[in-house]
Amino acid sequence: MTSITGVGVSPGRVIGPVLQMPPAVAEPAPGAGLPAGATAEGEANRLRAAAKTVQAALKDRAAGARKEAAEVLQATALMAADPMLLKSAVKLLEAGRGTERAIWEAAEQVAEQLKSLGGYMAERATDVLDVRARIVAELRGVPAPGIPASDVPFVLAAEDLAPADTATLDPAMVLALVTSGGGPQSHTAIIARSLGLPAVVAATGATGLAPGTEVFVDGAMGIVTPSPGEAERDLAAAYASREPLQPFDGTGMTADGHLVPLLSNVGGGADALAAAALGAEGVGLLRTEFCFLNRDAEPTIDEQVAAYKAVLDAFPAKKVVVRTLDAGADKPLPFLTDSTEPNPALGVRGYRTDLANPGVLERQLQAIATAAGQSQAEVWVMAPMIATAEEAGRFAGFCQAAGLETPGVMVEVPSAAVTAGSVLKRVDFASIGTNDLTQYTMAADRQLGPLAALNDPWQPAVLHLVKATVDGAASLQEAPKPVGVCGEAAADPALAVVLVGLGINSLSMSARSLAGVAAVLRSVPLERAQQLAALALGADTAAEARAAVRAELPLLETLGL
């Protein structure tokens, strides 16, 4: 059988049998009544039998689970055949609803009731909805939803994973994730990286793999090979016996001592503490959306000060780059963005929201300045989605008015990369957001699975724009201004070497990637990194660039990265 090619989003090489994640259970049609010939009494019996079957299956799983999981499963098993739940479903049946619809609505009511109680009870609402999906699947005679149960570790194949699936994903049983949908920013990719599981997304054909088929998964190269041969077994064995990564010691540099601060992307105080504990030399991207999301109105300045200060306090005397609010597109805010825009990614988002809703940005800068004044961190501020030198200049003016000394911009729009020299005359630094820069350079929505191959920061066009930004910064009469990278590109150790070779001054990534990037960077002298950068820039395709550079970095194999 031929290999399936997708996009590797989390490195690692393993071999194991495939199990398919059943599709989510679809809601029964609202108008569905009793089928012809069925009686309410007969259907009530069918419903009770299905509930009992689901209960027995959950009890079986509880018997095989670890203590805490077992307790949750036992409680969930009781919910499956709960007398109150079944009684209200039977009432709906008697009122003329179809069987699936009756249990669907009855469980909905119970879940709403639990949600309204808040706290622990609200969390249990999810269990009720899980039980409901299982009962409906049983009534339809289709496999139960959720991650399949197994006695042996397996490779999980799915269309895509939802955040809720993480809770039931046992990293000791799942060897790797392979999805037909999704992209580098999909939930599957995020889950895989946080659990350290190899993963390949956008692998067309993944859902067609027969359950039980043995496959080889290469999460760095994005390859899934059914019926692996000796070569694949050797690769998997080498990965299994890889050298453990040393924790990051807090100084990012090349083999010849060229310093490249390794910073962390964070989204709140708890994140910041975790990043500091993992050795981050500061914060290269503080996503301030965390204190705005899920709100109907703008948070007060005092609320913002407290939220920002929690992050700044984790990095005394270290650099913290605060990005002003980046709302819009995939992060809508009811009080700031227009959800009816036909092209939100090209719409009023990021810095541009200040045009439609002036005031929010200036108040945020005031809050950042106040928090900075109360902390020991060295605070830099940057605006997202800057496209022109005028915008950069106007933002620098706002920063100055708020008393913030180091204004900068994110380079995500190709125009800002191409005109980096003009942009950087007006601000003190630039930080390249490779996720959006790739999306806009390739004109490919980063949330669309079918476009995942275009959304690859190894695309030579993206690397050329990184170089254009660095060249623009170096062209200034005064001292060159620093250019960093924040985005998934910085977390890929091979690409990190290329970025440093292109002249990037600092790299910011999710904290768990620090150790791998630091180890690989330290194995390469600066001149060698520059040669590898030239190799990548000269490649015709993203795949060629990646393969050529990886072939020159044998340490990646040794460390299983």
Binding site: A75, L78, V110, L114, Y120, M121
Partner: protein, 92 residues
């Protein structure tokens, strides 16, 4: 109708594991048993074998609840269930 008043001993209240243990025990009884918070009207009492009802009851540690049952074996059933409620299952 025979009834008993019991005090919830579990530190987390009648949630989670204690609720599961109690619902299962109530389901094992030969008679139907209802549960209500002390002082609540008897016609608002809920099925004691329903874990979902128990969870929405909101009985905390130290709450007093009324158990009611009728028929053969009602008294024995109530006595058994009072004992379950007055045990701190978290301490086991």
């Amino acid at each position: 109708m025979p009834e008993r008043i019991a005090t919830v001993a579990s530190r987390v209240g009648l949630h989670a594991r204690p609720a599961a243990i109690f619902a299962e025990a109530a389901g094992d009884q030969p008679v139907e048993v209802t549960i209500a918070l002390e002082g609540a009207p008897a016609d608002e009492a809920m099925d004691a074998s329903s874990i979902l009802s128990l969870m929405s009851l909101g009985a905390e540690h130290g709450s007093k609840v009324v158990l009611r049952a009728e028929g053969d074996g009602a008294d024995a059933a109530l006595d058994a269930l009072v004992q379950v409620l007055e045990t701190d299952h978290d301490a086991e």
